[in-house]
Symmetry: C2
Subunit: 497 residues, 2 copies
């Protein structure tokens, strides 16, 4: 399949690609002349005259090695990346610069990822969504993974993690990076484990350092580093109902126990900072001891690690390296606020990046839903990036349809949180669709909806006739019982009265 085909139906049927001061936007012209503009993550794939089959055009001028966005921000120097995200989000570049300087926002943008359209992560900005892709030893090819990347950005992914652990890790990542307009994250310990043939005992700092350097050279924008899994915390986690459920966390815990040594990512943390500063790779400090079930939520292991992540956040900041921190996982609703409170206490204002959290464990096959409830609440409380969960979580490797289901659930969670946080433009979208609904502008309602084809299909199941697209009712209530139609009559009556 040609890559641009993945976007074709969207573009032709629902929106036009426009550029505002060089920043891409999606524009919808409604049937009443109203124009609605929104954020776009689809890159040059939706530019009609650009062929992206062999990679995206290089749109960033290469910045200098050894200096990060935070380095410039601390000096009050506004970079092209800051200007770009300021336009993209509707804030001033000065505001963006201040937030990056104080560490409450980040622009993950490796110097060697010139295909990137910069984006910002922080609680003052739109809540972002991360999609996980990547093969496992059991399934998937390089082409399938690139398709999943494009499929993710078609549905609105702001960042994508390549979590490949199977064959061709390096080649898969290269192809993903050269085709990605969004920041790409990885977990370098996965590749390091492949390098040593899968035996955890053989991992060591020099091997890990080589992997980190090579991935940084390739252009990876952020690394998950499980430096907070300290040797002394491991027994706390083994007493749990489901032990350690982070792959990287489990690898580091096993390494500590087998070698009876402290986590080498912790003991070599400053060297990691130096490498990451060189390429401006952002830290995503991994929560290797996150709970894997409700029974283990907010426990001693989790909060002990979180405290260390707070200390590491501070050290990275001294190196001008950008940082966000990963969070759970599985947390019941009544413990979410405590989780955020502890986070703020330990990690200050650094962006928080949570996986879900799932608010119940009883629905494998529907964990995009169990987790988008937790994600919406955590986004409202101040989480900056929501890592999506697909329906396949706990059961198998997600396929394209699972990526779509996960993305849509998380767009809903993120947007609901943007509204709840009072983001200045968030509710415009809801109001536009509500006006279309009240006016029975069905085509406008479909085009404004998050998944136009599905909305149209559901409507057309019962009423496929063309004139039903102008009818003042749908098949739910029929013509006599449509409350919105009645409302128009009532409005006339109150005006006459």
């Amino acid at each position: 399949m040609s890559f641009s085909q993945i976007f074709a139906d969207l573009l032709h049927e629902t929106w036009q690609k426009i550029y505002v001061s060089g920043v891409p936007m999606q524009q919808i012209t409604l049937s009443n002349g109203e124009i609605f503009t929104r954020y776009d993550t689809t890159g040059a794939y939706t530019d009609l005259n650009i062929n992206c089959e062999n990679g995206l055009p290089l749109i960033r001028k290469q910045p200098a090695y050894g200096k990060t966005q935070r380095y410039y921000a601390k000096r009050g120097e506004i970079t092209p990346e800051m200007t770009f995200v300021a336009t993209r989000e509707g804030f001033s570049a000065q505001f963006v610069c201040e937030k990056i300087a104080n560490g409450s926002a980040i622009i993950p943008a490796n110097i060697n990822h010139p295909e990137l359209e910069p984006m910002i992560i922080g609680k003052d900005f739109l809540v972002k969504i991360n999609a996980n892709i990547g093969n496992s030893a059991i399934s998937s090819s390089i082409e399938e993974e690139v398709e999943k990347l494009l499929w993710s950005i078609r549905w609105g992914a702001d960042t994508v993690m390549d979590l490949s652990t199977g064959k061709n890790i390096i080649q898969t990542r290269e192809k993903i990076l050269r085709h990605s307009p969004v920041p790409i994250g990885t977990v370098p310990i996965y590749e390091a484990l492949e390098v040593v043939g899968g035996d955890v005992r053989d991992l060591n700092w020099p091997i890990m350092r080589d992997v980190i350097v090579k991935q940084a050279e390739q252009g990876v924008d952020y690394f998950t580093i499980h430096a907070g899994v300290l040797q002394e915390f491991v027994p706390m986690a083994t007493r749990r109902l489901t032990g350690i459920v982070s792959r990287g966390g489990a690898i580091m815990a096993e390494w500590c126990m087998r070698n009876k040594q402290q986590n080498f990512l912790y003991t070599h943390f400053e060297e990691i900072c130096e490498i990451m500063r060189h390429f401006d790779v952002t830290f995503s400090l991994g929560d290797g001891l996150r709970p894997g079930c409700l029974a283990d939520a907010n426990d001693e292991a989790q909060f002990s690690e979180l405290k260390i992540l707070g200390a590491l956040t501070k050290i990275a900041g001294e190196f001008d390296v950008q940082v966000m921190n990963e969070g759970p996982g599985h947390i019941p609703i009544h413990l979410l606020a405590e989780n955020m409170k502890k986070y703020q206490e330990y990690c200050n204002d650094a962006p928080f990046y949570t996986l879900g959290p799932l608010v119940t464990d009883f629905a494998p096959g529907y964990d995009h839903i169990t987790s988008c409830i937790g994600a919406a609440i955590m986004g409202t409380l101040g989480t900056s990036v929501l890592c999506y969960v697909t329906p396949k979580e706990h059961l198998g490797l997600p396929l394209k349809e699972d990526v779509k289901a996960g993305m849509i659930a998380y767009r809903i969670a993120a947007h609901a949180a943007d509204i709840a946080k009072g983001h200045p433009h968030a509710r415009n979208w809801d109001d536009a669709i509500s006006r279309a609904r009240f006016d029975f502008r069905w085509e406008d309602q479909f085009r404004l909806s998050i998944d136009p084809a599905t909305a149209r299909q559901y409507h057309d199941e019962a009423l496929p006739q063309p004139n039903a697209k102008h009818a003042p009712f749908c098949s739910m209530c029929g013509p006599k019982f449509c409350s919105m139609r009645l409302s128009h009559d009532i409005k006339k009556l109150t005006v006459e009265a």
Copy 2:
């Protein structure tokens, strides 16, 4: 299709029906000998030796006319219905009796619905789910509606509303009632409007009274009555972005405006109470002025009506009639707590029954998800019944698959809320599945999940081999990277250390 076929696969593959002191339960025997028991809503359809094709067996002894569950509760008399729900929920009958006496809980159980398995609604008990079914003028037959009823209870619906507005309203309802083990609710004004040929102006109290009496005689367990839509509130609602979106609310508003009179459901409220007391029909006081979009949330129209509902709740209580109140609708996350606070201020402890609420308007086709976020939060705050929303909301009449999708999203919301509220047994289910997951008891994990067939199918997509059902990994991470497998190794190492 034979009715019991709808339940066949569930019963044979996942659980056994048992009775505890006459109360049905679902029991799952796990591969390690552990036994898990849970609430059951499926009625005699899952009793292997009972033929329900022509209706359910009559299991309630007919109580006396003119006396309600609340009447008995106020006198401290424990009814068979109270004993039944006490066993069902794991509380004492005395506790149940007290909650019904003070109006904070209800047992909707019409004297003429002897097929009913009594259930309780109130914030101290499990959060319940209501499924809406019913035809419209555009589509559906009587048989399809009975199938939707059975499909709803298969997926766990605690109550079902028949919202038919199309043909054969009376016959459809009769067939639904005789086949329903759960309380059935209706909105009598729909039938009244059909009686007068669809012209709102011709509605009046005598016609409505006849409809209410006949439906109560049939055995309907609760009526939605839009008595709070006062004439003077209508102009507040017409100034909104989407006006009035409750069908019953719009009908009453139009009636008030056309006839320049006060809502006859309000002026005749005490007569309604007398009829409902006679059959022990429960009030579901309708929120005719609920907001239909975020822009209209928590406005003057909504809260003016809510205050009236509070006053009517008190009057109904004086007649010993049981009451719950309906709530929104469309409310952004940050306004949910205010909504609950106002509810408690005006309506005291009467059970709250909310539709969702949807926390964003931008996702038609996915409103089961937009609304289950709001439902989970409202359930946590104390809402007793969550009225499900299907993916078809705003687009068309839901079909069977939509009913299933809506039910599953709402089971997740209700269960997450039960856990968050600290219901004494809620987390047992999560812990059982988490133990199965950590032990790689795949078959147990599937059988414990809310939708066993889907969980199994997702797992088997990549790993269909029989031995994969005992493998210490799945296709998501593959054998080397499974953190749970690693956790078992780490546990051994910490024990050895």
